[in-house]
């Protein structure tokens, strides 16, 4: 575990020593507050749901931007050769990088807490859906991050890693949508519905924390982290 901690700290230093982390956080907060409050005053309801329904779309670009550098940059700089010859298991490196990205996303989310505080000051919102919304957003962000991390193992170009990450996340997000379900063969529909990220997100967003949704998110995270470890490991055989 101390190895994982060391990787987390190294990655966080990488984020916070450069302007990247600050730019991410500022852009995220500005964009989400602006999009939320623009509608908030028009509708005039103390409701956070519009905020959380923005999250799958904002995270779609925000999270792959966080994850794109994690492996791609190591390969570009050649430092992957240092990392992979340290007494570090491959899964420890992958997990450390994942958790570092998750820390950055959590910090950004934590700082957005000013939005529900403002809403609570102006009105009287339900706390259940807000807590649920945050948990759901974090889980969704973690799932996106695992996908983005996997995309980052595939290339040494950060821009390509970002684009692959967005495309994968977008696919995962929309496969459960009605419009997709109509156009696929009937027997695939329930599978697609289950795989779709959006469906699971909206049920948590309503304040209903269902173990099936939690299991779903952990499966997606586990699956893509496993794939990342696999790609990283297979490079040793090339």
């Amino acid at each position: 575990m101390s190895n994982v901690m060391a990787v987390i700290r190294k990655e966080l230093k990488g984020y916070f020593n450069s302007p990247i982390a600050y730019i991410f956080i500022i852009v995220f907060l500005t964009l989400s507050s602006w999009l939320f409050f623009r509608g908030f005053f028009l509708i005039g309801q103390a409701d956070m749901r519009p905020f959380f329904s923005l999250m799958p779309w904002i995270f779609l670009f925000f999270v792959p931007a966080v994850s794109m550098r994690l492996w791609a940059e190591e390969r570009k700089l050649g430092t992957v050769e240092i990392l992979m010859t340290l007494p570090l298991k491959d899964w420890e490196a992958v997990l450390g990088k994942f958790l570092a990205g998750l820390t950055l996303i959590s910090i950004a989310l934590l700082l957005s807490i000013s939005i529900p505080i403002a809403v609570a000051y102006l009105g009287n919102p339900d706390t259940g859906p807000i807590v649920g919304g945050y948990i759901g957003t974090l889980l969704m962000g973690a799932a996106y991050l695992a996908i983005g991390l996997f995309a980052s193992t595939l290339t040494e170009n950060q821009i390509i890693a970002f684009i692959i990450g967005v495309v994968f996340c977008f696919t995962m997000l929309i496969v459960g949508e009605e419009i997709v379900l109509f156009s696929v063969p009937g027997f695939l529909a329930p599978i697609f519905r289950y795989i779709g990220l959006a469906v699971h997100f909206s049920s948590i967003g309503r304040g209903v924390i269902d173990s099936r949704d939690i299991i779903y998110y952990f499966s997606v995270i586990g699956f893509f982290l496993y794939l990342s470890v696999h790609v990283v490991q297979s490079r040793r055989w090339r």
Binding site: S2, A6, V7, K10, K13, E81, I82, T85, L86, L88
Partner: protein
Amino acid sequence: MIEVDGISKRFGPIVAVDDISFSISRGEILGFLGPNGAGKTTTMRILTGYIFPDTGTARVAGYDIFESPIEVRKHIGYLPENNPLYTDMSVWDYLEFIAQVRDIPKSERRRRIDEVIQICGLESVIYRDIEELSKGYRQRVGLAQCMIHDPDILILDEPTSGLDPNQIVGIRELIKELGKEKTVIISTHILPEVSATCNRVIIIDRGKIVADGSPDELSDMARGKLSIFVSLKAQKEDVEAKLSELPWIESFTEAPSTEEGALRYKITPSDNDGRTEELFKLAVQNGWVITELYREKATLEDVFRQLTTQDEVAA
């Protein structure tokens, strides 16, 4: 310390390493020589566990590279080719990260980092970002990184590339010092570096070992005759007549002399038995004054060129 047993590695159609076996014991400083693309880096990457060989295996400090890769890596300090570094970290942060992953206990970490900083002369740049450092300092950071856990084995891929002559001398001294108690493998294509630092040389060409021995042994291996140079103060006709009578002289030519009034000859003997003594006796008998007499020594360059180009001609 290291036993390599028949390793091969292909990259697509290219055979990078072709059935190489050798072993290295403690206290040896092994120079890995070869032209670019000969398989030096691939061999080192296999030993450090960065990549696995297709066939064969190796044992490092008693651990098999397939069975206990983590143990192998614990015993090795590795400076990869081109010295990759996390440029967005400060020197201190970087070394601290390496120390953490290298399992150096927290209580000793500071002392160890201070120690390598001092050995590598990094005191003045500890808190600078690696990005800002000159190439020489970066190289020292790379060396500090691979020594921090006081490993038994150091594998350095072109440790002096890009350094200025003073820095090169410094690094060589450091490697020699380390080689007293550790096993060191350095790869290079700079030949004087090998003569200056190594006590054993392996020359590798197109994935195969073509020579293995001490730098002196390899110099002796150089085929072809070593010329003898002699400068004399004597009658030209006399000298040339006497020289042409000697059976072991294949040919001799007059060489440009640096001394006023002296004759200088380059003598090509038909064997490699020395013969300088015989020349001296001949001079004494004839009353010639010798001002210079030496036998040319084959350098590693000669060996290297012979071994790594001869097949091409044949092929």
